[in-house]
């Protein structure tokens, strides 16, 4: 099959006003970045669509496989081309339709004849191509309104162009078009999904994780690193900040009554996250909280936890059911990592019955006996930072 180029439709981008060029330019750069391993692509950006012209058939396959994961693309279609000879056009039409699932599908041909000297008229050509395809594939039926397969033929001066398949894209906005935020990444199922949702809205991610050795193991840290790596596959690198949290957690155990210790722990995490956010230039904090899921995610708890900062805290999953979150986690391939059975810092000191409706003034009162400021600064300063995807060369490279 002689696939010539790929046509990309922007979707939501086309509603943008004067900012549109910034968005399409970002999308073009992201596509270039995602395919940096392939020979350089020719990308033509038009007002409401984009064309990619690969040089080799192999590159074409790669594009079709990987484009559905790039945000900012509503859908795309491989475009075939052939000479303006009628027989050639018919043959190519057959090949294009052949590459689709045809069982029980309806079909129509549309012709656009931009090149007027072409000897056949639009209707004639539609009839000829349509009847030729129908003879070859008796299993499809003609339907003019909303057919399953619409074979579009465009007669241009240099060649005839044909598309039939419309492959859905990931939707959303190009990553990087909406600034950077800091994701609180626990290692559970929800937080990577929250990160994904924000990536989809064009946000670049840094992630923060709280690590409490020896209560949490090397394995739990590895799990979070794997999650950060998974998130970095959506077209932008992810920087992970790992905060040593043992000292603070032990102090909370000592100082704070058991049933509100969980709330204080979250408040400390939020304070640390806010410091890291400020240092890295991120604009907001993202969490995977979903209303009412656990004691720390009731409105009362959220209020008490949120009181430590005025930074916007984005909670993309706040109205999601757990099952819907799991489904997305499976789709984005983080679920299997998230369910690895290692303790994280949220599960180790869990009180038997944490308060579901903590009072902010009470919590502040308990915390007033001890200043956590110094410990917080220390743990932020001592954090470990990794960037994903990991640069190719590491201690294993020579072994493989």
């Amino acid at each position: 099959m002689n696939w010539k180029e790929i046509l990309i439709r922007y979707g939501e981008l086309s509603t943008k006003g004067r900012n549109r060029n910034a968005f399409t330019g970002r999308l073009r750069d992201n596509i270039r970045y995602a395919f940096a391993d392939l020979p350089k692509l020719e990308i033509i950006t038009e007002r409401d669509r984009m064309f990619i012209r690969p040089n080799e058939a192999e590159t074409m396959d790669q594009l079709i496989q990987r484009l559905p994961h790039i945000f900012g693309i509503q859908s795309f279609s491989p475009v075939a081309s052939c000479s303006l000879d009628l027989e050639d056009i018919k043959d190519t039409a057959i090949k294009v339709v052949q590459s689709l699932n045809r069982e029980g599908k309806t079909f129509k041909v549309t012709v656009k004849r931009s090149y007027k000297p072409f000897p056949l008229e639009t209707n004639e050509l539609q009839l000829l191509v349509g009847s030729h395809v129908l003879r070859a594939f008796p299993e499809i039926q003609v339907q003019m309104k909303k057919p399953d397969i619409e074979l579009r033929v465009e007669i241009r001066k240099d060649a005839a162009y044909m598309t039939a398949e419309v492959i859905p894209g990931a939707g959303g906005l190009p990553i990087g078009s909406n600034g950077k935020s800091l994701l609180m990444l626990s290692g559970g199922i929800d937080s990577p999904v929250a990160g994904y949702q924000m990536l989809k809205r064009g946000v670049r991610l840094d992630a923060i994780h709280f690590y409490s050795p020896p209560y949490t193991s090397e394995r739990s840290k590895e799990k979070v690193m794997d999650l950060a790596e998974k998130l970095s596959r959506f077209g932008a690198s992810v920087k992970l900040h790992i905060i040593p949290f043992t000292e603070i957690q032990e102090e909370i155990q000592k100082q704070i009554p058991e049933n509100v210790s969980m709330t204080t722990t979250r408040r400390m995490m939020m304070r640390i996250a806010d410091m890291v956010r400020e240092e890295t230039g991120a604009m907001a904090i993202i969490t995977g909280e979903s209303l009412g899921q656990v004691a720390s995610q009731t409105l009362e708890s959220l209020t008490a936890i949120n009181a430590v900062t005025t930074t916007p805290v984005l909670r993309p999953l706040i109205a999601f059911d757990k099952l819907d979150i799991i489904k997305i986690a499976q789709d984005i391939d983080t679920y299997e990592v998230s369910i690895r059975p290692y303790e994280d810092c949220c599960t180790i000191f869990t009180p038997a019955s944490p308060k579901t409706k903590p009072k902010l003034d009470k919590v502040e009162f308990y915390e007033s006996f001890k200043s956590f400021d110094e410990m917080i600064e220390k743990s932020v300063a001592n954090r470990e930072i990794c960037v994903f995807p990991i640069k190719k060369k590491d201690k294993f490279t020579d072994l493989l």
Binding site: S217, E218, R219, E222, Y342, F396, L399, L400
Partner: protein
């Protein structure tokens, strides 16, 4: 001069592969299932090896497991699928020229109530599309064919057969790619099959290493059970040094494959012409066969005699295969090819590999001329 020309029997491990093996044993000997840091490190390294192999074959990381070699890989694939799919049918297809690890596994399954059909091959050693079409049934659950035959080098038209199978049935297609990986393109995309077996020691890796890889979602019934390593499919502590050395051997042979191919092609043509000049020699490898395997036979001369005569000159070749050459009966592959009796006993296999040069071919030719004079007066 030492002239090893028996690379289809086994190969010499590359220095880089041995270095890796030793280094991993020294620095990363932790058990990859342990939860301490050494275990985590070993398991990260193991996963990197797995992922490297997965990407060479065009599948994802969770669909590769490490085994002890080709025999285990074939056995695991065939019994694993047969037993997990028995609710769907009991009919299995293979060919008459498979490796003993396949044939004997099939015989074992026969005693457990599976119906095995051993497909005929044509005079070129090929299973034709027609043969497969005739044999494929609704209750066929598995097809197992080797990509390149180890004794004669015939290359099965796997992608054509697989296309037909995928179009017309739900049978799982297993391919023994032990002789082909690194010489010919072996990926799930080029072959269109479901499962691949690969062995390390045929590609300058270590003996006792191999993998099974698969593409779509498949369920295997494990043979080895225990601590549920390798996704529960093959229990037993995973030998990380072996696994990493295999990933390296596969990467290197893959990178060098196109260069190697043109050398082997040149030598194969050269030797075909050279041997073809003797009236008493019949070339058994098909013209369209693999470039790295060349089998021929000398009328009324036992293979063993030639092997010994060549060995005296430092040239190592084998009778049709290392696995069946110790037995006195004619190999099942040669039997399946319908070769006249006068030629059956004298089958010699030359197989090329890493480390061979033009000089080795020249050396072989010079000595072979003398041996033929002595034995046949030609």
């Amino acid at each position: 001069m030492m002239n090893y020309m028996d690379h289809s029997a086994t190969t010499k491990p590359r220095k880089e592969v041995l270095d890796t093996f030793i280094k991993v044993n020294e620095d990363f000997f932790g058990n990859p299932s342990s939860i301490h840091e050494m275990g985590v490190e070993a398991s990260q390294l193991l996963n990197r090896a797995r992922s490297q192999i997965a990407s060479l074959l065009g599948t994802d990381d969770r669909k590769v497991i490490f085994t002890s070699g080709g025999t285990e890989s074939n056995h695991f694939s065939i019994t694993g699928i047969a037993k997990s799919m028995r609710h769907r049918g009991r009919h299995i297809l293979t060919s008459k020229i498979e490796h003993p690890s396949v044939i004997e596994t099939m015989k074992q399954l026969e005693t457990e109530g599976f119906e095995i059909e051993y497909l005929d091959v044509n005079e070129e050693g090929l299973v034709t599309l027609e043969t497969l079409q005739m044999a494929l049934r609704k209750d066929t659950i598995l097809i197992s064919l080797m990509h390149i035959n180890n004794e004669i080098g015939s290359i099965q038209p796997i992608s054509v057969l697989a296309k037909f199978v995928k179009k017309t049935s739900r049978a799982i297609f297993h391919v023994d790619a032990i002789q082909s990986f690194g010489k010919y393109p072996v990926t799930f995309q080029t072959l269109g099959v479901d499962i691949l077996s690969i062995s390390g020691h045929k590609l300058n890796g270590l003996k006792g290493t191999g993998i099974v890889a698969w593409q779509s979602e498949l369920t295997f019934q494990p043979v080895l059970v225990g601590g549920a390593q390798e996704f529960g499919l093959r229990s037993g502590t995973v030998p990380v040094p072996q696994a990493v050395s295999l990933a390296k051997a596969m990467r290197i042979i893959h990178e060098e494959s196109s260069q190697a191919y043109s050398k082997y092609e040149k030598w194969s043509n050269d030797l075909r012409e050279f041997l073809g000049k003797y009236p008493s020699i019949k070339i058994i490898s098909p013209m369209q066969g693999a470039v790295h395997i060349l089998s021929f036979s000398i009328r009324d001369v036992k293979g063993e005699v030639i092997i010994n005569a060549l060995q005296a000159k430092g040239i190592i070749v084998s009778t049709s295969s290392a696995c069946s050459s110790k037995q006195t009966k004619t190999s099942h592959v040669i039997e399946a090819l319908n070769i006249s009796d006068a030629y059956k006993k004298g089958v010699i296999r030359i197989s090329f590999g890493y480390g061979m040069t033009d000089e080795h071919i020249q050396h072989f030719k010079e000595n072979f001329i003398g041996i033929m004079k002595q034995l046949k007066g030609e």
